[in-house]
């Protein structure tokens, strides 16, 4: 009998697909159900951020940074304003620094909650999503209380903040932290140590540490592979060197170091560490005026800077070139998800179609930031 000729099947996933976290298109090459190759196609949300920067003045860029990673707007602001302040050499008040850290860490929790919730949906657990969004709503309430917006804040300004904290902020925050600790435990019982969840994620999409570094992965993806690297610790910016916290890495107590479960677990643990940082920041929060250092006219000298911060998704870098005018000459954003997504073909090869979804969910990408 002549041998049956078999061909590879090319499957198109997206740009509209419920589990691609936005408008990502994946071209999947299959042999039966085994993945031979995955080719990501991006650009379906390319909103020309870098072109806008060149036409705007420095403060006008801040709202656009919000809209890049819309799950972590505060952190996008954080990176941008710190970079411009560095370029202009502005010394900002102590209170501003602390409030920025509090907001940034709250945003990290909110972003991780979305990542965890949608990861759950991707692999078939709907209930944790509702639990995560319940907690996230409380963080959004805190943000709304401070700056009036739920999602895109435009809160951090060059040299300061748009508003000081309202009087009820600190008590509300403390009560949130108290409840949230319990909720993390609940989340662990519900999802993290769930047998079905472990079966779907442990030993799936294993990413070795050296590959992760060569591909430029950062954030929870890198730490999930066991690399102890966090810019807040290793290259401290702002006032992160004043706080005592642990860098969470994948330990491999379930599955293997570098698999989906470990990447997921890094996020859960990081939320606890963020709570710790916030608590310390509340303790040390000084009094002062948050708008005193805002310059009337933002006009950095000729020069350029590459400034990076540890956003919830990884290393967020701003490469800003100033030609001495009020408009940036060039702003390039090194978006963490953009680089992290490149690893998807590497970790998906040889697994099944359903595992692509698990891998993608564990990378926690945001298309707004990838396409900009």
């Amino acid at each position: 009998m002549a041998e049956l000729k078999t061909d590879h099947l090319v499957l198109n996933m997206g740009p509209q697909h419920p589990s691609t976290h936005g408008v990502l298109r994946l071209e999947v090459v299959l042999d039966g159900e085994v993945v031979i190759d995955v080719i990501p196609h991006i650009g379906y949300l390319h909103r020309c951020f870098e072109k806008h920067c060149e036409a705007m003045t420095y403060p006008m860029v801040i709202p656009y940074t919000d809209r890049m990673d819309y799950l972590a707007s505060m952190y996008m602001n954080f990176g941008y304003v710190e970079a411009v302040e560095k370029l202009m050499n502005i010394e900002i008040p102590e209170r501003v620094k602390y409030i920025r850290v509090i907001m940034g860490e709250l945003q990290r929790i909110a972003s991780h909650l979305v990542a965890i919730g949608t990861f759950g949906i991707d692999i078939g657990a709907f209930t944790p999503f509702l639990y995560c969004f319940r907690d996230r709503e409380r963080i959004l309430d805190l943000f709304e209380m401070t700056c009036g917006a739920r999602l895109l804040y435009n809160y951090m300004w060059i040299g300061g903040l748009s508003h000081d904290l309202p009087p009820m902020f600190i008590p509300e925050l403390k009560s949130f932290l108290k409840d949230f600790r319990k909720n993390i435990k609940e989340l662990n019982d519900l999802l993290s140590y769930n047998k079905i969840f472990i079966e779907r994620t442990a030993n799936i999409g294993i990413l070795p540490a050296d590959t992760a570094i060569n591909y430029g992965c950062t954030g929870p993806v890198l730490r999930g592979s066991g690399v102890n690297w966090d810019l807040r610790k290793n290259d401290p910016y702002s006032i992160y060197d004043r706080f005592d916290f642990e860098v969470c890495v994948g330990k491999g107590e379930i599955g293997t170091v570098g698999d989906c479960w470990n990447r997921y677990m890094v996020r859960v643990r990081e939320m606890e560490q963020s709570c710790l940082i916030i608590e310390q920041a509340i303790e040390q929060l000084p009094e002062g005026d948050v708008t005193s250092a805002i310059p009337k006219r933002v006009k950095p000298p000729v020069g350029e800077i590459y400034f990076r911060v540890e956003s919830p998704k990884g290393e967020l870098g701003y490469h800003i070139i100033s030609d001495g005018t009020v408009n940036p000459f060039r702003v390039k954003v090194r978006a963490p998800s953009f680089v992290n997504l490149q690893i998807l073909p590497v970790i998906s090869k040889g697994y099944l179609v359903a595992d692509i979804i698990a891998n993608l969910g564990s990378l926690d990408i945001v298309l707004g930031e990838i396409d900009r």
Binding site: E54, N214, G303, Y306, R330, K332, F338
Partner: protein, 173 residues
């Protein structure tokens, strides 16, 4: 390690007269010619004392230092001058950084691809090709990444003009 110290190490293998250090607010920049870039990058990665194992960022820049020519419809065109690519390197091992800059002629911006050195350069280079038209020689899959394949022009060049229609849809407001 500062850029000057790195340059001392580079002396062993490269003729450093072709390199130039540009002082800058956010850290010094090493300007290198494009013909030695690939060798230099391999050296920077593999030498034990340097060990730049990660490429943090790669940006293309339109320096717009050429001659501006007014066109009839009020827009302008830039003739001559340079584009540039920036490489922000970082070493996990030694925790030091280095910024490389390569100047490219605007009319023929060709630079060797560093994708083989750091895999993270893959998409960054495709993006720079997409938005600036910088050609990365030796890249395995150099095509547009953000914009559709049938797009006209390179949007982040300073003299870019928006096309009127794309596939029957009006582009300007």
């Amino acid at each position: 390690m500062t850029t000057t110290e790195i340059l001392e190490i580079l002396k062993e293998k490269f003729s450093v007269e072709q390199f130039e250090i540009q002082s800058n607010i956010g850290g010094e920049i090493l300007i290198v010619p494009s013909n030695v870039l690939l060798d230099l990058c391999f050296f920077l990665r593999d030498d034990e004392r340097l060990a730049f194992d990660s490429l943090m960022n790669l940006s293309g820049v339109d320096l717009a230092d050429g001659e501006k020519k007014k066109l009839e419809d009020g827009s302008f065109e830039i003739v001559g001058g340079h584009l540039a690519t920036y490489y922000h390197l970082h070493s996990f091992k030694h925790n030091h950084k280095l910024t490389l800059k390569v100047l490219l002629p605007r009319e023929n911006p060709v630079v060797p691809s560093v994708e083989r050195v750091w895999r993270s350069a893959d998409w960054h280079e495709r993006e720079a090709y997409d938005l600036f038209g910088i050609v990365f020689e030796g890249h395995h899959n150099l095509k547009r990444i953000l914009l559709p394949d049938d797009w006209d022009g390179y949007p982040l060049r300073k003299d870019y003009k928006v096309q009127e229609f794309y596939q029957g849809m009006k582009v300007p407001y």
